[in-house]
Symmetry: C2
Amino acid sequence: MRYAVLGTGVVGRTVAAKLATLGHETVVGTRDPQATLARTEPDGYGNPPFAQWQANDFAVRLVTFTEAAAWADAVVNTTAGAASLEALTAAGADNLAGKVLIDIANPLDFSTGMPPSLNPVDTDSLGEQIQRAFPDTRVVKALNTMNCEVMVDPSRVAGEHDVFVSGDDTDAKKQVTELLVSFGWPAASVIDLGGIITARGTEMLLPIWLRLWGTLGHADFNFHIAGTRTSA
Amino acid sequence: MRYAVLGTGVVGRTVAAKLATLGHETVVGTRDPQATLARTEPDGYGNPPFAQWQANDFAVRLVTFTEAAAWADAVVNTTAGAASLEALTAAGADNLAGKVLIDIANPLDFSTGMPPSLNPVDTDSLGEQIQRAFPDTRVVKALNTMNCEVMVDPSRVAGEHDVFVSGDDTDAKKQVTELLVSFGWPAASVIDLGGIITARGTEMLLPIWLRLWGTLGHADFNFHIAGTRTSA
C-alpha cells in the first residue's frame, strides 16, 4: 500500500515514520519541497528542520502535494487545518479521486488569540468541508483527538482509551480501522461514530484536549468512552 | 445545607431527589409553580407530570425561582440552556449573590434542526455568560457532560470515568467536589479544568455525547481521560 502523508510537521513525520516502519511505501507531500529541504532552523515548536529528520531517521521522500497524491493509493492529511483545503486543492481532485483520505487535521483558528478557536465549528467541520470539496474521495476523519505519539503508539497511555472514526464510506472506514489495528489499537477501541458529519463532535474535543494538556502537563493522555460495552 | 434546584425536568428531578436522599433540605424552583403542578400530561420526553413525580417519589417543595434562590444556601441550574439566563434573572441577582451556583445546563440550540447546535459555542460558553451576568455568584460548571442518572450514581457506568469542574472560585470548586464525592464520585475522578472559561470545553463535548448516545443505544456511558495519573 502506497501512502502519501501531506504535511511536514511533527504529526506528518510521526505518521510517515510509522507507516514506513510497518513496511508501507510512504512519501511526504508539501507545497514546495525545495523550500522545506532548504530550512536549517527548528520550526516554531522546536522541531528539527525536515531535512535533519529525514537524514537522521527515515529515508522518506519529500515530494509536492500533487506528486504525492498522484503516486499514492491512500492519503493522510496532516496539514494545518486552516491550510488543508488549499493543500488538497494543490494535490488535485483527480489525484485524490476514489482514494481513501484519512483526515487528521483540526481547524484550529489562532486569529482569535489563545486558546485557539475552531473554524468551522458546531454546524460544520473540516472533515465535512473536505468531503464536500472532494466528493469522489473517501474521507475518514480519525486520530485528530490525541497527540501524534499516541496515534502511532497507543500503549503510551495506560488503560483503555479510544480512537474515533467518522466517514460516509463503510469500506473506507474498515480499511482505516485495519490500519489503526496495525498501529496497535485494539479493534474494540476503534469507535465508529457514523457519517462524516460526526467529525463535528471529534473536532470539538480539541478545546478540552488543549486544556487538559495544560492542566496535566503532558500529552500522553486520551479520551475513553466508559460504558460502551455494558448497558444497565 | 439548603439546595435550590432550578428546573423541573428530568435532570432537576434526579438531582433534587439525590440531594433529598442525602439529607439536604431541597426545593425545586420554577417560573410558575401553579402552572407546573396543574399539568397532568407527560412532557415531550415522556416524563410524568411534576405533580405525579412529587407525589410518588419525593416530597420536595416546588416554589418560584425567586423563592428558591432566596431560601437556599446553594443553587443548581438544571433549566434548559436557552432559558437559563432568564430563569436566573427571575431568581434574582441579590438572591444569588455570594452563593455557589452549580451550572449543569448546556446551551443546546434546536433552531438549526437535529442534531442540535450550541449557542454560545467555542469563543464563549453558557457557564461564562452566567458568571458575567451574576458576578457576585460563584459559578461552577459541572456534571453537564453525562446523563442525569450517571450524575447521581456513577456506578451505573463500569470502569473509571470522570466529571469535570470549571470555575473561577477555588473554594466553590472544593465545595462542589465534596458534593460530587457524596454522590459517589471518587475524588480522583473529579477533574478540575481551571477557570469558568474551560466550560467551553465541557459544553463542546455535547455533540459527541449525543452522537454516542445514538450509536450505543443507551446513556449509561461517560468520558474518561486515560493517562491522567501517569506521565511517560
